[in-house]
Amino acid sequence: MRRYVIKRLAQAVGVLWAAYTVSFLVLDFLPGDPVSAMAGAGMDSGQTDPAQLAKLRHEYGFDKPVLVQYAEYLGRAVRGDFGDAVSTGRPVTSTLADALPQTLQLTGAALLLAVVLGGGLAVVATYTSRRWLRQLLLSLPPLGVSVPTFWVGLLLVEAFSFKLHWFPAFGNDGLRGLVLPALTLAVPTGAQVAQVLAKSLLTALDQAYVETARAKGADRWRVHLRHALRNASLPALTVVGLLVGQLIAGSVVVETVFSRDGLGRVTAAAVTTQDIPLVQGVVVFGALIFVATNLLVDLVYPLLDPRIVVASDRRAGFA
């Protein structure tokens, strides 16, 4: 088990390094000249004089050979230093750290809603023997993945803030301010959870071990929860792991719609001002979240599925 954990950790670090490299390649080399972009963005002064550009270029090390630049940046990134945001001059790392709590609240609440609502929908839809209810419930997830998040957010604001005045339309204040944004963010995620779980539940209910359970005299609820759901939740768990990264990214749209402060707003602003160090920090942070959740899922998985331990064990492949 420890070997397995160490191996997975090493893989995670490898992916992070590669993600950093990709973002470096994309951001620092794809367009013609990042410096003039930065200069234009940072100073808002239409004209920039060549001397100043050269100074900037030197400051950011763009006059050095590519590999040297890369090595220097990577060396600093390993120590958690992604440079200073061009627009504010504050370090990228602390800018992100300041914005993070708001966003974690939002995404955490959204994840909870998505799993509870999506999972519940899937369980009820596959359990019920009423055909109309099943059809109705199962038609919701495809709808949920088809609607634009920002549109859902705006409609919710219109209905619950402007018409009914139940929840605030904008801002970060308190639990009431969290309800609409979290719900908005939970719609596509919950829909995907529901789709995956319902599908794997239906698959599980078709398996031979379910018949064995029925032959024991188990009632439907027992068969559904103790046998089918237990097996079906495994693929759903993997999907949830993949969705966490999407939730963080989704905060860009949702925080913009609800004018909430947070990582998403910082990101949107960074893209608008072409603040390359900040965007790079966000990209690597996104990868970090993704890698971390998947590591977590991988470590939890063997506890839920006894077959996995063996696969990393000696007799792999010959079970």
């Binding site: 031979a208 018949e211 064995t212 009632d219 077959r307 792999a316 492949g317 079970a319």
Partner: protein
């Protein structure tokens, strides 16, 4: 819960009384335990309702084994599942009664039925590899039956489960109970499933093809044990099987089903000795295990020159590394064999014996670790490029699974002409002509050319695969379990076809099979493999009458149907 418990009690009490009555009556029971009358079951599909079982009558007597025999699609499995209404979601019982004790199971409510399932009727399912919940421990799964029917407390159930597993013949039951299904072999899993079935001491066990997924030697042990259990406890068994041999060995009563109907029923001995129905007779004639040596291949006059010679073949597979050391598995271990022109060499063994790997080495579909393969005198062990293509032209392969070996998007014409295309033989028209000839050879109508594999039955597909193998007029065709996925009557036809083609074209077969009975009919030479080694070689007549190796004897003894006196008419 309250109402469920009420209904739970009522039938059980009365049944318990009845059970006692039956026991008191002892041997002279006058009523069957299970009495099925006029049972009809159908499945709703998109194309409409498809009847699967039509007006079936069937009795199971206390303490007896009743076998239901039939080919796939005969409705035998549906009948068995209809007893406790464990049908697929789209299946419904249209008519009939299923009297068990004093209840009509077909009319009970779902809640009442649950008190019967597991408690009074146990089920041993078809495929042990998928019938246990993969994420629950074995002991837990056995204990669940006891818990559901209130036969043990939470704590007591665990200990009881171990005892039941022990009774089901699982060695080290206490250890196994703590393991998960994937940690057990197929045979052990089937014992765990038997434990689940017998845990609540039911009066009837329904065993649906309980051993068809297992190797023959394991099959015998499991069936022996099941029989032993019933003799001990007086439990009745409804045994569903496609294998007439198994039924003949184990059952007191035999029910033969075909196309959803019972065509014949009666005492096993009587049915086998004097089959009344045409279908039963046909089934008897084609069951390989019941017929003694009916050679389909004429013995060639002079010893033919060798076509394939394998010398000391070894194939090792590297296993995933563990603890820093590389480990290897010797799938083929020092195998030497000779196949002569125009003859058939059979490689026999159970799963994992290395017989398929050996064949793949001969065809150079896999690379030998060491050893040598001579094809028609030339060393092809390390053949590359053009040499391999030349070998492909002369040596072809027929696979076990006719459902997987044909590209679903190809028409049959394209399938058969593919080898011709690959070697640029003739033009389109002449290739299609050849395909027509080949189809005729394998007794399929020329119209088949336009059809797709999905439109053909398993037997027809295997004929197509054979036609494809023969397209280039090869010297050698390797047949990898070519009939094991087919129903017995179709098996017989395909074997006949293979023998006939050999007589006509002089092709040699390397015939791989787990089934000694099949091999007996077609081989000139038989090599028995176990754990990568050939343990015994010889002509079938010697090997079957005087097996020299212990393992060969074991295999022969495991062939079902051995206990039935062979019909006198055939000569050996």
């Amino acid at each position: 819960m309250g109402t469920a418990a009420m209904t739970h009690d009522a039938p059980e009490n009365s049944d318990a009384r009845e059970n006692r009555d039956a026991r008191e009556n002892g041997e002279n029971v006058t009523t069957p335990l299970l009495e099925i009358r006029g049972l009809s079951v159908s499945y709703r599909t998109r194309g409409g309702t498809v009847p699967a079982v039509r007006g079936v009558d069937l009795d199971v007597w206390p303490g007896q084994v009743t076998a239901v025999v039939g080919e796939s699609g005969s409705g035998k499995s549906t009948t068995a599942h209809a007893v406790t209404r464990l049908l697929a979601a789209n299946g419904t019982i249209d008519a009939g009664t299923v009297r068990f004790g004093r209840h009509d199971l077909a009319a009970l409510s779902e809640a009442e039925l649950r008190t019967v399932r597991g408690a009074q009727i146990g089920l041993v399912p078809q495929d042990p590899t998928v019938s246990l919940n993969p994420v629950k421990r074995i002991g837990e799964q056995v204990a669940e039956v006891l818990r559901i029917h209130g036969l043990a407390t939470r704590r007591g159930a665990a200990a009881e489960a171990v005892a039941v597993l022990d009774r089901a013949g699982l060695p080290d039951a206490a250890v196994r109970a703590r393991q998960y299904p994937h940690e057990l072999s197929g045979g052990m899993r089937q014992r765990a499933l038997i434990a689940i079935a017998i845990a609540a001491k039911p009066r009837l066990i329904i065993a649906d093809e309980p051993t068809s997924a297992l190797d023959v030697t394991v099959q015998r042990i499991i069936l022996d044990h099941l029989q032993h259990l019933t003799e001990e406890s007086g439990t009745a068994i409804l045994l569903v099987t496609h294998d007439l041999g198994v039924a003949a060995d184990r059952a007191q009563r035999l029910v033969v089903m075909s196309q959803g109907k019972v065509v014949e029923a009666g005492e096993t001995r009587a049915v086998l000795a004097d089959p009344q129905h045409d279908y039963t007779r046909r089934l008897l004639a084609s069951a390989p295990s019941l017929t003694t040596a009916r050679p389909r291949t004429p013995v060639p006059a002079a010893p033919a020159p060798p076509l394939v010679e394998a010398r000391n073949l070894v194939k090792e597979f590297r296993l995933p590394r563990a603890g820093g050391e590389t480990r290897t598995l010797r799938a083929v271990d020092d195998v030497s064999l000779t196949l002569r022109r125009g003859q058939t060499l059979a490689l026999v063994g159970e799963s994992g014996s290395g017989k398929s790997t050996t064949a793949r080495l001969v065809l150079r579909l896999a690379e030998a670790t060491s050893g040598q393969v001579l094809f028609d005198g030339t060393d092809v062990t390390t053949a590359k490029g053009a040499e391999v293509r030349e070998l492909r032209r002369r040596a072809q392969l027929v696979y076990q699974n006719p459902y997987a070996s044909l590209d679903p998007r190809f028409s049959i014409g394209e399938v058969i002409t593919e080898p011709l295309r690959a070697f640029k033989v003739g033009d389109r028209a002449s290739r299609l002509d050849r395909a027509r000839v080949l189809l005729d050879r394998v007794a399929l109508p020329a119209a088949t050319l336009e059809r797709r594999p999905a439109e053909l039955s398993g037997g027809q597909r295997q004929r197509v695969a054979i036609a494809r193998a023969l397209a280039l007029s090869p010297d050698l065709v390797v047949c990898d379990e070519p009939v094991s996925a087919l129903d017995v009557s179709v098996q017989a036809q395909v074997l006949d076809l293979l023998a006939e083609l050999q007589a006509d074209t002089g092709v040699a077969y390397l015939f791989i099979s787990h089934d000694l009975a099949v091999v007996r009919q077609i081989a000139h030479q038989v090599a028995v493999m176990r754990a990568g080694r050939i343990v015994e070689t010889g002509p079938p007549e010697d090997l079957f009458s005087e097996p020299r190796h212990e393992y060969t004897r074991e295999l022969l003894a495991a062939i079902p149907g051995g206990r039935v006196p062979a019909p006198e008419t055939t000569t050996s």
